[in-house]
């Protein structure tokens, strides 16, 4: 490091100093962010190698929240795994429940009554509102807007959680879907309360977007940051809003048409740049579309049984075979793959977690950006460690 000798710098004339400065490269610095770092959304660790402030290498380290979910699933009954699925992505218990119920229903060849299908759509879209609202709040928190957007998001989230609580008994660990329908009928007044919430949500989004969407600081921090090209997104298996922000028209609600989604008219918003701002914007637009699904769904909810009368709770067994059930969760494709040998518990139980797969491209997004941007990029991927580590 003779070039960095201060006495040399002091004695050198002008142009020479600049030449010395250009050669002045410090060592690469390895920074371990996490697992106990508030910006990593849980117990996630980023081993970032920095050149100055620029990320030149980034290794995601996870597994700190590994709870043996899949092995437990193989050792408990089919019904017994249902409450565990709540704890995968604890923001979206209702969609996790649905994906798992769908896989088991395919395995057992079980039908679902109309009322339950409608309720599933309603609950999944409410979950999408909840997840995307909170994501915007967390993303802004990562940008340094401490408090305000997240508190507004949590104010609305609380209203949706109150709905979940009065329906299923628990705010986040709903454990509500069953094989062949849903567990209980909505209590009196629930649908009206849900209708009021959905009716007022557009107004909240207007307010939220007035706060955020045109904000110059947010634009400066997110536009052009963490571009994800469509070919990379497809080859890495990225799904959900991440993929659609890169301009790929792939939404399982349209592609698979599971549940009663084909009965509802909604559009799939697509991004043009694939940067962090697009990923934020896609979620805002998706929430508007969710409201367009929720309004007719709440209006047309048919009467009838909530669960198939032939559905069995105790001693449930599925025919030997295998099934994969997937739905478009708020974070992407959430799927459950089950193999049955005819026993009371699955022989193989595997989860396809969207945020885990979306996280695999983190390094590609962060290279060349500053470490502060890496935090924002991670926020826009929308991970929940309960699901990443399982």
């Amino acid at each position: 490091m003779s070039a960095a000798d201060p006495s040399l710098l002091a004695s050198a004339p002008g142009p020479q100093i600049r030449a010395v400065r250009d050669e002045f490269h410090g060592d690469l610095l390895e920074v371990s962010m996490g697992p106990h770092h508030p910006s990593t959304h849980g117990v996630f660790r980023m081993m970032a190698t920095l050149d100055g402030e620029t990320v030149v290498k980034l290794k995601p380290v996870f597994g700190y929240l590994h709870r043996n979910h899949e092995k437990i699933g193989e050792n408990t009954t089919y019904l017994g795994s249902m409450p565990y699925t709540d704890r995968l992505d604890y923001f979206c218990a209702m969609t996790n429940n649905w994906a798992y119920a769908l896989a088991v229903e395919r395995l057992a060849g079980q039908a679902v009554p109309e009322r339950a299908e409608y309720l599933r759509v309603i609950l999944a879209e409410l979950t999408r509102l909840l997840n995307h609202t909170c994501l915007a709040g967390f993303l802004l928190q990562d940008c340094g807007a401490s408090g305000t957007p997240l508190m507004y998001a949590f104010r609305e989230r609380e209203k949706i959680l109150d709905l979940f609580e009065s329906l299923s008994g628990s705010r986040m660990m709903c454990n509500y879907q069953r094989f062949g329908g849903c567990r209980v009928d909505p209590p009196p007044g629930w649908l009206e309360a849900a209708g009021r919430l959905v009716g007022g949500y557009g107004g909240f989004l207007d307010e939220y977007e007035a706060l955020l969407t045109g904000n110059e600081i947010l634009m400066a921090r997110t536009q052009g940051i963490g571009r994800l090209a469509a070919p990379l997104a497809i080859s890495a298996g990225v799904t959900g809003p991440m993929l659609r922000a890169s301009g790929v028209d792939y939404d399982l609600r349209k592609v698979d048409g599971y549940g009663f989604y084909p009965r509802f008219a909604f559009r799939v918003p697509l991004g043009a740049h694939g940067d962090t701002y697009d990923r934020y914007m896609i979620r805002m637009l998706e929430m508007r579309e969710s409201i367009r699904i929720l309004e007719p769904a709440l209006r047309d909810l048919p009467a009838g049984p909530i669960i198939d009368p032939k559905a069995r709770l105790r001693g449930f067994r599925a025919k030997p075979g295998e099934a994969y059930g997937r739905i478009e969760g708020p974070k992407g494709e959430i799927g459950f793959y089950l193999i049955s040998t005819g026993g009371p518990n699955p022989y193989r139980y595997r989860v396809r977690p969207p945020s885990f797969v979306n996280l695999t491209i983190l390094e590609d997004l962060c290279l060349g950006h500053s470490i502060a941007d890496a935090v924002v990029i991670l926020g826009s991927i929308d991970i929940v460690l309960g699901e990443v580590d399982r």
């Binding site: 017994g80 249902m82 409450p83 008994g169 660990m173 209590p187 904000n215």
Partner: protein
Amino acid sequence: MIGTGLLKGLAVTARNFLGSFHDPRRFVTTQYPEERTVLPEAYRNFPFLVSESADDPMGTLRCVACQICEKECPPQCILIEKSADKKPDANGKMQIYPAVFAIDTSVCMSCQICVEVCPFDAIKMDQVFELATTNRFGGLLLDREALAKPDSYFHRIHPTEAAEVEARLAAGRKAAQDKARAAAAPKAAPAASAPSVQPPAAPVAEAPPPPGTAA
């Protein structure tokens, strides 16, 4: 123009700030523990055991120690030991009872599966949530004395579900009584009129209704 987005955002924040003084839609905080939100009826926390009477909870537990909940419990937090003797239940039928019934609430995840699989409506979800204790082993492992709560308590916290359960149990009791009467009738009839060959027809005619009403 640069800065208009920021000003728009600041206007939103200002509206929210001022609204938090006068607009009821923005009064979102509850000052727990001075104020409490009303729990919805469906709210569930750890399970409890239903006993018919508040005076003799251990003698009137509905649980018959069938151990279905113990087997179905996903985190395996229930421990049941069957009794050696039997004692009469609410219908007067001799039943086994749980000599040991313990739930480790540090393991329980309040999923309600034990309640759903119980064929006797003997275990239900409680609504008590202030359960902090200074003893993390003994304080969280609840035995049957700590778990037993009277049926009237269940009616108070889950009125709708309790009404359904009550109707179901009443139907069960009626079916049991009809069955007992039908079983008693053939024995009583021959004793009353032993020489006659005709009387057995009467109990036969009387017997079919119970299955019909039960169905």
